[in-house]
Symmetry: C2
Subunit: 348 residues, 2 copies
Amino acid sequence: MNRAATINDVAREAGVSRSAVSKVIRDAYGVSDEMRARVNAAIGRLDYRPRVAARAMRGVTDTLGIELPDIGNPFFDKVVTGAMAALSGTGCQLIVAPASAGAEEGLQALRTLADREVDGIVAISPLVAPTWLEDLSGRMPVVMLGRHDRSIGYDTVTGDDAEGTRLVMDHLLSLGHERIAHLTRSEEVTAPGSGTPHAVRLAVYEEHMRRRGLTASVVRTGRSEAEAREAVARLLGGPRRPTAIFAGNDTLALGALGAVGDAGLSTREISVVGYDDVEIASHPAISLTSVDQAGVEMGRRAVELLLSRRAGRTDAVHLAVMPVLRRRRSSGRRIGGHGELVDRSTDG
Amino acid sequence: MNRAATINDVAREAGVSRSAVSKVIRDAYGVSDEMRARVNAAIGRLDYRPRVAARAMRGVTDTLGIELPDIGNPFFDKVVTGAMAALSGTGCQLIVAPASAGAEEGLQALRTLADREVDGIVAISPLVAPTWLEDLSGRMPVVMLGRHDRSIGYDTVTGDDAEGTRLVMDHLLSLGHERIAHLTRSEEVTAPGSGTPHAVRLAVYEEHMRRRGLTASVVRTGRSEAEAREAVARLLGGPRRPTAIFAGNDTLALGALGAVGDAGLSTREISVVGYDDVEIASHPAISLTSVDQAGVEMGRRAVELLLSRRAGRTDAVHLAVMPVLRRRRSSGRRIGGHGELVDRSTDG
DNA sequence: CAATCATTGTGGATTGATCTACACATTGTT
DNA sequence: AACAATGTGTAGATCAATCCACAATGATTG
């Protein structure tokens, strides 16, 4: 493999010193207009690009990294889109590290970014230990996105999951639903006190059900639509079929929609509400009611926090973005009902 | 910001030389078991990780990069998934560079990867000049994914788009359709001879129509579902409404499905066929007939080609993956029809 | 006119890991 | 016993950029 031009080649071509070239490309103080022109001309002739690795040796990479727990979940596209928008214009580049499926989850991806000494990391995986992130944030700015920790070492950007869940529950309850099932991820991802979005949504769901004297019904599944579909199929085949399903995110909700269809039912009989408002949710063939937690905005804010850290900020900032409920055809007034009133009296 | 432990710290901690530590972490020849144990213990105590930047200075990063033209298109998730699968187990890490929207398209993202001296690049953006890629491939292995160039400098992995398009056209023609519109991207993306997937699909579509004596109808749009939806809405509102739409990819097909619904029609009246077989295509509420071009397989193959280049291969390899048509409910036998026979006689 | 200062360019040290060359010890062969 | 072969560890150069200290120059000022 050939080697690319180096700063030395440029210096020779322009007939000046390395240091002079370095000043020009960094736009540093102490360069005459004539020098700048000469060096830039040489850079153009040689098609020179500074090597990030060599810069990293001196402590800067002009790179931010985003770690994604699940490349297949379109919510994360929104976050990346927002992050890129916030970076356009700054000389900073963005790299994405997708987590490979497995026990390590996002840890491996975060290490990929840390090993490359990026100037800042947006972490999304819910399962990475706060202490680990705290350690990491001692070496480079970190923003945890989604999870409700309150570290002094790193910043967070979250949706207001309690408010989002309240929007969903108010919506379903006001439509007359009482048998509302909650479709969520494994116990690991919803561990009480972990502060993951799914943990908060589950806790607030249970609280709302309890306050109304209703029986909570929690269905666990993996992260994929297919797994959600199977889980909901079992739910619909069992006793005490719900009239509404609140899914922890839109991928799970799509699985629920599939299972409802498979069972020969429609969302007229069983309302389905999701979370994230991914793009496909608004498609007329899907028309999924969902909580829009402004993923693009979250990505943008996360990057802004990293940039402000780089500019010198040291105190931790914790932002919450307000969610909005997008009402669509997948949720409607309860029809039918099989002895709910009787059940209610025995429940409460 | 604190600095992480270096190889010098490990050497001091273990009471040996830098070189010895280097040998251990590279698993190089000339290390005794006792030395290995001592060094590994020190590495564990200090939580040491080698800095990729310092390694890059010597020519290796143990990193592959994928450039993605559109993070919102779920087809590319498949490619990334396949790439990650091929890399698991090897010590190599993967980073993703998403292209920011704009004129430069993927160029900027490819530069992001090149600047970081990755050990190999999977390029997907259709608009990057072959000569530019050729130059790049002189410095590091490159695989172009999707586009049908035949460079001697870099490898390619493509779907057989001619075969895929033939599958679609045979399918639609055998269902009795004659007014088949093709929904595709801008002229830039389908430039004849450019070898982009969209260019091949368009050319083969036109050839099939011509051979049958049918009038080709090409509708141009942007890359987003929303733009496709508007374009198809205009098509459906105009004269000579088609009975079938062949979309250049599933994102466009989803837009077409939306427009069909908006117009008060269903896929019983207007068949829609897509390309890529993204995950949502198989959802019962969508049930989109689509060409599965095995994106996971393509990603896996691309990475394997990069690894074999790194292992010393120098001759270019060009792979084609066979597509399969997934027939679903969005395509069916032509019903109705408004004077096709008359039109056909005047056309051919 | 000497002293001070700002401007512009240069040399050399520095960063962390790798790699070559070599030193030294041990083992095996004749 | 002499010598080769092998195994194990170390010193120092190297990679490409940055950054500090300083030199050379010209402008300004008491």
